[in-house]
Protein backbone atom coordinates (compact mmCIF):
# COMPACT_ATOMS: atom_id res chain seq x y z
CA UNK A 1 0.00 0.00 0.00
CA UNK A 2 1.47 3.38 -0.98
CA UNK A 3 1.99 5.98 1.72
CA UNK A 4 -0.68 8.13 0.10
CA UNK A 5 -3.18 5.30 0.21
CA UNK A 6 -2.25 4.42 3.80
CA UNK A 7 -2.66 8.05 4.86
CA UNK A 8 -6.04 8.08 3.21
CA UNK A 9 -6.93 4.94 5.17
CA UNK A 10 -5.69 6.63 8.36
CA UNK A 11 -7.88 9.64 7.70
CA UNK A 12 -10.84 7.42 6.98
CA UNK A 13 -10.29 5.47 10.21
CA UNK A 14 -9.97 8.69 12.20
CA UNK A 15 -12.94 10.38 10.60
CA UNK A 16 -15.37 8.26 12.58
CA UNK A 17 -13.52 8.83 15.88
CA UNK A 18 -11.79 12.19 16.10
CA UNK A 19 -14.80 14.50 15.92
CA UNK A 20 -17.63 12.19 16.88
CA UNK A 21 -20.52 14.17 18.33
CA UNK A 22 -22.79 11.20 18.99
CA UNK A 23 -22.09 11.02 22.76
CA UNK A 24 -23.81 14.35 23.35
CA UNK A 25 -26.77 13.22 21.25
CA UNK A 26 -27.05 10.13 23.44
CA UNK A 27 -27.28 12.32 26.54
CA UNK A 28 -29.87 14.59 24.93
CA UNK A 29 -32.05 11.64 23.94
CA UNK A 30 -31.81 10.20 27.45
CA UNK A 31 -32.84 13.52 29.01
CA UNK A 32 -35.73 13.81 26.57
CA UNK A 33 -36.96 10.36 27.60
CA UNK A 34 -37.51 11.59 31.16
CA UNK A 35 -40.18 13.89 32.53
CA UNK A 36 -38.96 17.30 33.62
CA UNK A 37 -39.13 16.72 37.37
CA UNK A 38 -37.73 13.26 36.79
CA UNK A 39 -34.70 14.77 35.06
CA UNK A 40 -33.88 16.74 38.19
CA UNK A 41 -34.32 13.68 40.41
CA UNK A 42 -32.27 11.40 38.18
CA UNK A 43 -29.39 13.77 37.50
CA UNK A 44 -29.31 14.93 41.15
CA UNK A 45 -29.08 11.35 42.37
CA UNK A 46 -26.08 10.46 44.54
CA UNK A 47 -23.15 9.38 42.42
CA UNK A 48 -24.86 10.07 39.09
CA UNK A 49 -23.36 13.40 38.00
CA UNK A 50 -21.67 14.27 41.29
CA UNK A 51 -20.44 12.39 44.36
CA UNK A 52 -18.23 13.09 47.36
CA UNK A 53 -14.57 13.59 46.41
CA UNK A 54 -12.96 10.27 45.52
CA UNK A 55 -9.91 9.50 47.63
CA UNK A 56 -7.13 6.95 47.06
CA UNK A 57 -8.48 4.94 49.99
CA UNK A 58 -11.79 4.69 48.12
CA UNK A 59 -9.89 2.85 45.39
CA UNK A 60 -8.46 0.43 47.95
CA UNK A 61 -11.94 0.02 49.36
CA UNK A 62 -13.18 -1.39 46.06
CA UNK A 63 -10.22 -3.67 45.57
CA UNK A 64 -8.08 -1.44 43.36
CA UNK A 65 -4.48 -1.09 44.44
CA UNK A 66 -3.09 2.35 43.64
CA UNK A 67 0.50 1.96 42.49
CA UNK A 68 2.92 4.72 43.41
CA UNK A 69 2.94 5.93 39.82
CA UNK A 70 -0.86 6.15 39.84
CA UNK A 71 -1.18 7.94 43.20
CA UNK A 72 -3.67 10.72 42.54
CA UNK A 73 -4.41 13.91 44.46
CA UNK A 74 -7.40 14.82 42.36
CA UNK A 75 -9.22 13.55 39.27
CA UNK A 76 -10.46 14.87 35.98
CA UNK A 77 -13.79 16.56 36.54
CA UNK A 78 -13.21 17.22 40.25
CA UNK A 79 -15.10 20.27 41.42
CA UNK A 80 -12.71 22.49 43.34
CA UNK A 81 -12.42 25.86 45.01
CA UNK A 82 -9.30 27.93 44.43
CA UNK A 83 -8.24 31.57 44.28
CA UNK A 84 -5.15 30.82 42.19
CA UNK A 85 -6.91 30.49 38.81
CA UNK A 86 -6.64 33.15 36.10
CA UNK A 87 -8.97 34.15 33.26
CA UNK A 88 -7.72 36.58 30.59
CA UNK A 89 -5.18 38.09 33.00
CA UNK A 90 -7.54 38.44 35.96
CA UNK A 91 -7.14 36.33 39.06
CA UNK A 92 -10.46 34.75 39.98
CA UNK A 93 -11.28 35.39 43.63
CA UNK A 94 -14.32 34.90 45.83
CA UNK A 95 -14.02 31.12 46.34
CA UNK A 96 -15.44 30.36 42.91
CA UNK A 97 -15.84 26.74 41.93
CA UNK A 98 -14.21 25.09 38.91
CA UNK A 99 -14.11 21.71 37.19
CA UNK A 100 -10.72 20.17 36.34
CA UNK A 101 -10.65 19.73 32.58
CA UNK A 102 -7.37 17.86 32.13
CA UNK A 103 -7.09 14.11 32.14
CA UNK A 104 -6.35 12.68 35.59
CA UNK A 105 -2.91 11.44 34.59
CA UNK A 106 -1.90 14.96 33.55
CA UNK A 107 -2.76 16.54 36.92
CA UNK A 108 -0.75 14.08 38.97
CA UNK A 109 2.23 15.59 40.80
CA UNK A 110 5.40 16.16 38.78
CA UNK A 111 3.75 15.81 35.40
CA UNK A 112 2.44 18.92 33.67
CA UNK A 113 3.17 22.52 34.73
CA UNK A 114 -0.26 23.95 34.03
CA UNK A 115 -3.88 22.87 33.97
CA UNK A 116 -7.15 24.02 32.47
CA UNK A 117 -10.31 24.68 34.43
CA UNK A 118 -13.91 25.46 33.50
CA UNK A 119 -15.81 27.65 35.90
CA UNK A 120 -19.17 26.92 37.54
CA UNK A 121 -21.94 29.46 37.87
CA UNK A 122 -24.72 28.79 40.36
CA UNK A 123 -28.20 29.52 39.03
CA UNK A 124 -30.24 31.33 41.66
CA UNK A 125 -33.99 30.91 41.94
CA UNK A 126 -34.34 34.69 42.15
CA UNK A 127 -32.89 35.23 38.67
CA UNK A 128 -35.57 36.26 36.16
CA UNK A 129 -34.46 33.59 33.67
CA UNK A 130 -33.90 30.84 36.23
CA UNK A 131 -36.58 28.47 34.88
CA UNK A 132 -35.54 28.88 31.27
CA UNK A 133 -31.87 28.37 32.18
CA UNK A 134 -32.80 25.27 34.18
CA UNK A 135 -34.84 23.90 31.28
CA UNK A 136 -32.01 24.43 28.80
CA UNK A 137 -29.44 22.89 31.12
CA UNK A 138 -31.54 19.78 31.81
CA UNK A 139 -32.14 19.29 28.09
CA UNK A 140 -28.35 19.10 27.63
CA UNK A 141 -29.02 20.92 24.39
CA UNK A 142 -26.17 23.42 24.72
CA UNK A 143 -22.55 22.87 23.82
CA UNK A 144 -21.60 25.79 26.05
CA UNK A 145 -23.02 24.66 29.39
CA UNK A 146 -23.45 21.46 31.35
CA UNK A 147 -25.96 20.89 34.13
CA UNK A 148 -24.60 20.12 37.58
CA UNK A 149 -26.57 19.86 40.84
CA UNK A 150 -26.23 22.37 43.66
CA UNK A 151 -23.05 21.77 45.66
CA UNK A 152 -21.95 22.32 49.26
CA UNK A 153 -21.15 25.99 49.74
CA UNK A 154 -23.51 27.18 46.97
CA UNK A 155 -25.97 30.01 47.68
CA UNK A 156 -28.95 28.71 49.66
CA UNK A 157 -31.38 29.62 46.86
CA UNK A 158 -29.46 27.86 44.11
CA UNK A 159 -31.15 24.79 42.59
CA UNK A 160 -28.22 23.95 40.32
CA UNK A 161 -25.01 25.01 38.63
CA UNK A 162 -24.03 25.62 35.03
CA UNK A 163 -20.57 24.36 34.11
CA UNK A 164 -19.49 26.94 31.54
CA UNK A 165 -17.36 25.90 28.58
CA UNK A 166 -17.25 29.41 27.09
CA UNK A 167 -13.71 30.35 28.07
CA UNK A 168 -11.11 28.44 30.04
CA UNK A 169 -9.27 29.39 33.20
CA UNK A 170 -5.63 28.55 33.81
CA UNK A 171 -3.89 27.42 36.94
CA UNK A 172 -0.43 26.18 37.78
CA UNK A 173 -0.63 22.51 38.67
CA UNK A 174 1.25 23.06 41.92
CA UNK A 175 -1.58 25.35 43.07
CA UNK A 176 -4.29 23.09 41.67
CA UNK A 177 -3.03 20.21 43.80
CA UNK A 178 -3.70 22.23 46.97
CA UNK A 179 -7.16 23.40 45.91
CA UNK A 180 -10.15 22.51 48.06
CA UNK A 181 -11.94 19.51 46.58
CA UNK A 182 -15.69 19.96 46.87
CA UNK A 183 -16.79 16.85 44.98
CA UNK A 184 -15.87 14.40 42.22
CA UNK A 185 -17.96 13.55 39.19
CA UNK A 186 -19.84 10.27 39.19
CA UNK A 187 -19.30 7.84 36.35
CA UNK A 188 -22.10 9.28 34.20
CA UNK A 189 -21.05 12.84 34.99
CA UNK A 190 -17.46 12.10 34.05
CA UNK A 191 -18.49 10.62 30.70
CA UNK A 192 -20.78 13.57 29.96
CA UNK A 193 -17.98 16.00 30.84
CA UNK A 194 -15.58 14.24 28.48
CA UNK A 195 -18.22 14.30 25.75
CA UNK A 196 -18.80 18.01 26.29
CA UNK A 197 -15.07 18.85 26.23
CA UNK A 198 -14.64 16.85 23.06
CA UNK A 199 -17.68 18.46 21.45
CA UNK A 200 -16.51 21.94 22.40
CA UNK A 201 -13.00 21.48 21.05
CA UNK A 202 -13.67 19.13 18.13
CA UNK A 203 -17.05 20.00 16.67
CA UNK A 204 -17.08 20.18 12.84
CA UNK A 205 -19.39 20.89 9.96
CA UNK A 206 -19.79 19.21 6.58
CA UNK A 207 -18.37 22.38 5.02
CA UNK A 208 -15.09 22.05 6.95
CA UNK A 209 -14.78 18.36 6.09
CA UNK A 210 -15.26 19.11 2.42
CA UNK A 211 -12.88 22.10 2.56
CA UNK A 212 -10.06 20.14 4.13
CA UNK A 213 -10.60 17.14 1.88
CA UNK A 214 -10.44 19.26 -1.25
CA UNK A 215 -7.32 21.11 -0.02
CA UNK A 216 -5.39 17.94 0.92
CA UNK A 217 -3.02 17.07 -1.95
CA UNK A 218 -2.68 13.42 -0.91
CA UNK A 219 -6.40 12.90 -0.93
CA UNK A 220 -6.96 14.09 -4.48
CA UNK A 221 -5.29 11.05 -6.00
CA UNK A 222 -7.14 8.62 -3.74
CA UNK A 223 -10.47 10.31 -4.37
CA UNK A 224 -9.83 10.05 -8.08
CA UNK A 225 -9.01 6.34 -7.78
CA UNK A 226 -12.27 5.72 -5.86
CA UNK A 227 -14.10 7.27 -8.73
Amino acid sequence: MSSAASLARLEEDLSALSHDESPLKVVQDFAKSLGKRERQDVFNGPGVLVRPAIRPEDASGVGLEVAQRDAFVLLQGDLIVTEAAYFLGERLTGTQKFAVANSTCDVMPNRRENAVLFHLQPIRASEPNAKQLLGELLAFGSTRRMYLPALPGDPSDSPCNALNFDGVAQIQTCNLLTATRVASLGLVGWRILASMIRTNLCRITDFEIELRNRLWPGQRGVLASRG
Partner: protein, 158 residues
Protein backbone atom coordinates in the same frame (compact mmCIF):
# COMPACT_ATOMS: atom_id res chain seq x y z
CA UNK B 1 -7.13 23.68 74.86
CA UNK B 2 -5.52 27.07 75.23
CA UNK B 3 -7.63 30.03 74.29
CA UNK B 4 -6.60 33.58 73.63
CA UNK B 5 -7.42 35.72 76.72
CA UNK B 6 -10.38 37.93 75.87
CA UNK B 7 -8.46 41.07 76.92
CA UNK B 8 -6.04 40.53 74.05
CA UNK B 9 -8.67 39.95 71.37
CA UNK B 10 -9.06 43.64 70.43
CA UNK B 11 -5.28 43.97 70.04
CA UNK B 12 -5.23 40.86 67.93
CA UNK B 13 -7.98 42.27 65.74
CA UNK B 14 -5.67 45.20 64.93
CA UNK B 15 -2.86 42.84 64.00
CA UNK B 16 -4.66 41.30 60.98
CA UNK B 17 -2.46 43.07 58.49
CA UNK B 18 -2.97 42.74 54.73
CA UNK B 19 -3.35 38.98 54.90
CA UNK B 20 -6.25 39.37 57.31
CA UNK B 21 -5.50 36.49 59.67
CA UNK B 22 -5.70 36.57 63.45
CA UNK B 23 -4.29 34.09 65.98
CA UNK B 24 -6.85 31.56 67.08
CA UNK B 25 -6.85 28.62 69.48
CA UNK B 26 -3.69 26.68 70.17
CA UNK B 27 -3.12 23.16 71.46
CA UNK B 28 0.21 22.21 73.07
CA UNK B 29 -0.18 18.50 72.29
CA UNK B 30 -2.06 16.16 69.99
CA UNK B 31 -3.84 14.65 72.97
CA UNK B 32 -5.27 18.01 74.00
CA UNK B 33 -6.27 18.59 70.36
CA UNK B 34 -7.98 15.19 70.22
CA UNK B 35 -9.80 15.78 73.49
CA UNK B 36 -11.06 19.16 72.24
CA UNK B 37 -12.89 17.31 69.46
CA UNK B 38 -14.89 19.04 66.68
CA UNK B 39 -15.80 21.85 69.09
CA UNK B 40 -12.13 22.74 69.29
CA UNK B 41 -11.87 23.06 65.51
CA UNK B 42 -15.00 25.18 65.42
CA UNK B 43 -13.06 27.76 67.42
CA UNK B 44 -11.07 28.32 64.21
CA UNK B 45 -13.46 30.78 62.66
CA UNK B 46 -12.94 32.41 59.24
CA UNK B 47 -9.84 34.59 59.44
CA UNK B 48 -8.28 32.87 62.42
CA UNK B 49 -5.33 30.51 62.63
CA UNK B 50 -5.17 27.57 65.00
CA UNK B 51 -1.83 26.18 66.15
CA UNK B 52 -1.02 22.60 67.07
CA UNK B 53 2.31 21.73 68.71
CA UNK B 54 3.43 18.12 68.48
CA UNK B 55 6.82 17.61 70.11
CA UNK B 56 9.21 19.87 68.22
CA UNK B 57 6.90 20.44 65.22
CA UNK B 58 4.35 23.20 64.98
CA UNK B 59 1.34 23.03 62.67
CA UNK B 60 -1.20 25.67 61.69
CA UNK B 61 -4.84 24.98 60.95
CA UNK B 62 -6.90 27.28 58.74
CA UNK B 63 -10.38 27.27 57.28
CA UNK B 64 -10.02 26.08 53.67
CA UNK B 65 -11.40 29.37 52.30
CA UNK B 66 -8.63 31.28 54.14
CA UNK B 67 -6.01 28.86 52.84
CA UNK B 68 -7.23 29.25 49.24
CA UNK B 69 -7.14 33.04 49.68
CA UNK B 70 -3.49 32.82 50.76
CA UNK B 71 -2.59 30.57 47.83
CA UNK B 72 -4.21 33.04 45.46
CA UNK B 73 -2.29 35.98 46.96
CA UNK B 74 0.95 34.02 46.75
CA UNK B 75 0.24 33.27 43.09
CA UNK B 76 0.00 37.02 42.46
CA UNK B 77 3.31 37.75 44.21
CA UNK B 78 5.21 36.38 41.23
CA UNK B 79 3.37 38.75 38.87
CA UNK B 80 4.22 41.73 41.09
CA UNK B 81 7.84 40.63 41.42
CA UNK B 82 8.27 40.57 37.63
CA UNK B 83 7.17 44.21 37.41
CA UNK B 84 9.57 45.25 40.20
CA UNK B 85 12.42 43.38 38.49
CA UNK B 86 11.84 45.33 35.29
CA UNK B 87 11.90 48.69 37.10
CA UNK B 88 14.98 47.74 39.11
CA UNK B 89 16.94 46.64 36.03
CA UNK B 90 15.97 49.81 34.18
CA UNK B 91 17.04 51.92 37.17
CA UNK B 92 20.42 50.15 37.37
CA UNK B 93 20.97 50.70 33.66
CA UNK B 94 20.13 54.40 34.05
CA UNK B 95 22.54 54.73 36.98
CA UNK B 96 25.32 53.34 34.75
CA UNK B 97 24.36 55.40 31.68
CA UNK B 98 22.59 58.56 32.92
CA UNK B 99 23.26 60.43 29.66
CA UNK B 100 21.81 57.76 27.37
CA UNK B 101 18.34 58.93 26.25
CA UNK B 102 17.27 55.38 25.29
CA UNK B 103 18.08 54.09 28.77
CA UNK B 104 16.24 56.99 30.38
CA UNK B 105 13.28 56.30 28.14
CA UNK B 106 13.26 52.63 29.16
CA UNK B 107 13.27 53.56 32.85
CA UNK B 108 10.39 55.96 32.36
CA UNK B 109 8.42 53.35 30.45
CA UNK B 110 9.06 50.71 33.11
CA UNK B 111 7.90 53.06 35.89
CA UNK B 112 4.84 54.12 33.88
CA UNK B 113 3.94 50.51 33.11
CA UNK B 114 4.19 49.47 36.74
CA UNK B 115 2.35 52.59 37.90
CA UNK B 116 -0.61 51.91 35.61
CA UNK B 117 -1.31 48.66 37.42
CA UNK B 118 -1.04 49.48 41.13
CA UNK B 119 -3.26 46.53 41.92
CA UNK B 120 -3.27 43.30 39.99
CA UNK B 121 -6.67 42.73 38.38
CA UNK B 122 -9.05 40.28 39.99
CA UNK B 123 -12.60 39.19 39.34
CA UNK B 124 -14.89 37.64 41.95
CA UNK B 125 -17.80 36.69 39.70
CA UNK B 126 -18.86 36.26 36.08
CA UNK B 127 -21.70 38.04 34.26
CA UNK B 128 -25.10 36.42 34.80
CA UNK B 129 -25.96 33.71 32.31
CA UNK B 130 -28.52 34.50 29.64
CA UNK B 131 -30.69 31.78 28.10
CA UNK B 132 -29.48 30.62 24.70
CA UNK B 133 -33.03 30.40 23.36
CA UNK B 134 -32.88 26.99 21.67
CA UNK B 135 -35.99 24.83 21.56
CA UNK B 136 -36.79 22.75 24.61
CA UNK B 137 -39.94 21.10 25.94
CA UNK B 138 -40.78 24.20 28.00
CA UNK B 139 -39.82 25.68 31.36
CA UNK B 140 -42.77 24.60 33.52
CA UNK B 141 -42.53 21.58 35.76
CA UNK B 142 -39.05 22.22 37.16
CA UNK B 143 -38.41 22.73 40.86
CA UNK B 144 -36.36 25.80 41.80
CA UNK B 145 -36.34 25.32 45.58
CA UNK B 146 -33.12 23.46 46.43
CA UNK B 147 -34.71 22.18 49.65
CA UNK B 148 -37.19 20.19 47.58
CA UNK B 149 -34.51 18.65 45.37
CA UNK B 150 -32.39 15.55 45.83
CA UNK B 151 -28.81 16.23 46.70
CA UNK B 152 -25.98 14.17 45.23
CA UNK B 153 -24.42 14.28 48.69
CA UNK B 154 -27.42 12.76 50.51
CA UNK B 155 -26.36 10.03 52.90
CA UNK B 156 -22.80 11.38 53.01
CA UNK B 157 -21.78 12.67 56.41
CA UNK B 158 -18.12 13.22 55.58
Amino acid sequence: MEMQPSSLMSLNDQLCGPVGLRPGPSWPSFDKFRLAGPAGLEQITPGTVGTLQIKSNSYVILRSADYQRLVGLAADVERVANGFTLVRQAALAFASHPDDPDVKGTLLQAVTYSGQSPALPTRDQHPPLEPEGFETDGDDGYELDPLRLRSPMEGWDG
